[in-house]
């Protein structure tokens, strides 16, 4: 063998060796129950602590925490599920739960709950449980939630001589306050916006007494007077009163605008509390203004079990542990969610907690009438699909290309078309895996091979 060949073999051997060497560094918990969640290091710290507490007690079945980036969370879980390698238990927000349940990724927990006498759904806020159920089947156990609230800048309020919002304020008070807090330059440009609500805008629909679906809960419905009034109010904030950014003034998102003190009030969830606590801003929190109903938009964080988990019994035990009072006391320490259990949420320890300098009672208001934020969802499509369509139609209305009524009808028609098509498709046989698909595949492959061989002389 020549020296060169030996060199190449050595080089390749070296690479193979390194790869194998690293591959030998196997996971210490190969048979561990996999628990996945998203979030920053600080946000997931409490979940990691819970896993450690659980592992200390359960020496036979260890749990391994695996972080997944929120931007590709669903995609990774779907790919893992398609390849038969899903996490056994994972955190899922209420906005994604119904879509993944519809796609057959989630285990129906109804029978697990019924069979377990040590687990009681009555310990949780009933309205939160509703967001994790599809046609009376429970797919997730809520471990925390966040309502939409108003964050306000105390300094800008004082500067404008406007009283801080309180629990009695209405949507009209909100509008009048936003008008007073909006400051303009001499050339007409806005220097400071009164408010910014972005996607939270659609939660106006609930307090205005509107809804997103018809009575059968089958079809999207926006063309009702109260829903239209809410959409009109949302549009008018930007286009009539100019107290918030218009579709052509996307200067910043609400978080950035608030931090730069370019926006006086924003609507956001509890996640901003630990974030704003790190800044030097003088900020406060108020509940959403009162409307015709006390319904409020919430995001619920659920623990779900994969339908394809090979350790379902252990997965159920772990879900029960994370939903237990002890675990909830631990997990709310991060400050970015509110307990889903009635006993922990109403405990003096939580209500009097001042770690983040906010009144926790504000976040409990309206939870009895909690509805999905930013809008209700049909499982056959994703909330993002619905939201994109609604945003597109609303933008056209705000820019004067159509009326708000037309925007509602167009959005409704587009979403219902998706639902209709999806329902028709699921009634028919799937194309992939059918005889026709195999025939087309084999014919295509044979044609390519034939084409290559034909060039042989």
């Amino acid at each position: 063998m020549s020296t060169d060949k030996i060199k190449i073999l050595l080089m390749l051997g070296g690479v193979a060796y390194m790869i194998l060497l690293m591959a030998v560094n196997q996971n210490q918990h190969d048979d561990a129950l996999i628990f996945s969640a998203w979030g920053t290091v600080e946000e997931t710290e409490n979940l990691v602590n819970l896993v450690e507490i659980y592992n200390a007690v359960h020496s036979r079945q260890k749990v391994k925490f695996v972080h997944i980036d929120h931007r590709e969370y669903d995609r990774k879980i779907l790919i893992q599920t398609a390849a038969g390698n899903p996490p056994d238990v994972f955190l899922l927000s209420s906005t994604d739960l119904s879509t993944l349940a519809y796609r057959g990724v989630l285990e129906n927990l109804t029978s697990w709950i019924a069979a377990d006498t040590s687990f009681h759904l009555s310990a949780f806020f009933p309205a939160l449980l509703k967001t994790a159920a599809i046609r009376n089947h429970v797919y997730g156990i809520p471990i925390g939630y966040t309502p939409m609230v108003i964050y306000y800048n105390r300094r800008l309020f004082r500067e404008a001589g406007v009283p801080y919002p309180d629990t009695s304020w209405t949507w009209n008070d909100f509008l009048q306050t936003a008008i007073k807090l909006t400051k303009r330059e001499a050339d007409g440009r806005t220097r400071q916006f009164g408010c910014m609500i972005s996607m939270a805008g659609y939660t106006f629909v609930y307090p205005f007494g509107g809804h997103f679906f018809d009575e059968t809960r089958q079809w999207f419905q926006l063309d009702q007077p109260k829903t239209l009034a809410a959409l009109q109010f949302y549009g008018d904030l930007a286009m009539k009163y100019h107290v918030t950014t218009s579709p052509t003034e996307k200067l910043f998102n609400s978080d950035q605008g608030f931090r730069q003190e370019a926006v006086a009030m924003i609507a956001a969830g509890r996640w901003q509390v630990p974030n704003f606590a790190r800044t030097k801003l003088a900020w406060g929190v108020a509940p959403m203004p009162r409307g015709e109903t006390s319904a409020t938009g919430v995001i619920v964080y659920n623990l779900v079990m994969s339908k394809f988990s090979k350790r379902q019994q252990q997965a159920w035990e772990f879900i029960k542990f994370v939903a237990s009072p002890l675990a909830q006391q631990e997990s709310v320490k991060s400050g970015n969610l509110i307990p889903s259990r009635l006993d922990i949420a109403n405990s003096p320890a939580f209500l009097r907690d001042t770690t983040f300098r906010v009144d926790n009672r504000i976040f409990l208001q309206g939870v009895e009438n909690a509805r999905l934020w930013p809008l209700e969802i049909a499982p056959e499509t994703s909330y993002l699909n619905q939201l994109v369509i609604l945003n597109e139609e609303m933008e056209k209305a705000m820019l004067g290309h159509q009326s708000y009524a037309d925007a509602a009808i167009n959005a409704q028609d587009r979403i219902n078309t998706i639902l209709r098509n999806e329902r028709q498709q699921t009634q028919g046989k799937p194309f992939w895996g059918s005889r026709t698909s195999y025939l087309i595949g084999i014919t295509g492959f044979a044609s390519i091979v034939g084409w290559i061989l034909k060039s042989r002389k």
């Binding site: 893992q80 390849a83 390698n85 002389k457």
Partner: protein, 274 residues
Amino acid sequence: MPAISNRRKLMIYIILLAGGLLMVAPLYWSLITSLKSPAAAFDGKWMLPIEKIHWQNYIDVVKILPFGRFFLNSLFIAASITILQVFTSSLAAYAFARLRFPGRERIFLVYLATLMVPGQVTIIPLYFIIKYSGWIDQYPGVIFPAAFTALGTFLLRQFFMTIPRELEDAAYLDGAGRFAVYWKIILPLSLPALATLGIFVFINAWNDFFWPFIVLSDTQKLTLPVGLTKLTTAHATDWTRLMAGAMIALLPALLVYVIFQKFINKGIVLTGFK
């Protein structure tokens, strides 16, 4: 060739300078943000007094995340992919450029056609293969799928075809075999093309997010782009720390570019590939 007048030259420099500034501005913004305190992240200031420099972001990033480990993982994965891809591409390119076998051109065309298949289509089948190879959450699961590419093969084939056959014929007359010709004639003459491909492969592998994100889960095995996502969340991002992490992550790719700039420029001229 007519000389360019000074006035025209000045205009060209002004345009180039403006273009350069436009390219550097986002990078500069990231750097400045990485040196600000979280409270000042969005103060809109483009200059920072020395006394206000907030090095804590860099310290935090290294403390909060196993940054050194991410760095080594990225280096190992990117280096392995680069070595393997350049080697396999050069072998395949040599075969398509020089060896005569039935259906060569058409096989090459089919091979090239794989460039047209979007990555999304192959993700699940590829994940299956990785799973059945036992490489989920393992380095080979990230390295091997990237070890073979049609693009690298195409680029090197085009370059190999420009090398005069006479050089190879002379080697054959001296008794060299095919592999010796490939190793002793073709590769040494193709160093600029190999270096260019290597640099681009390294930078791509270094910055790659999606596939390592899908395959790797264990924090100790994550690459830098995947590890940095631990600083972002659904509704809020830790901008100052994220920018500090991004600045550190950027360094190796930047160094590769600065050191091998000559090869990159030459490679762009030779292959039209950027």
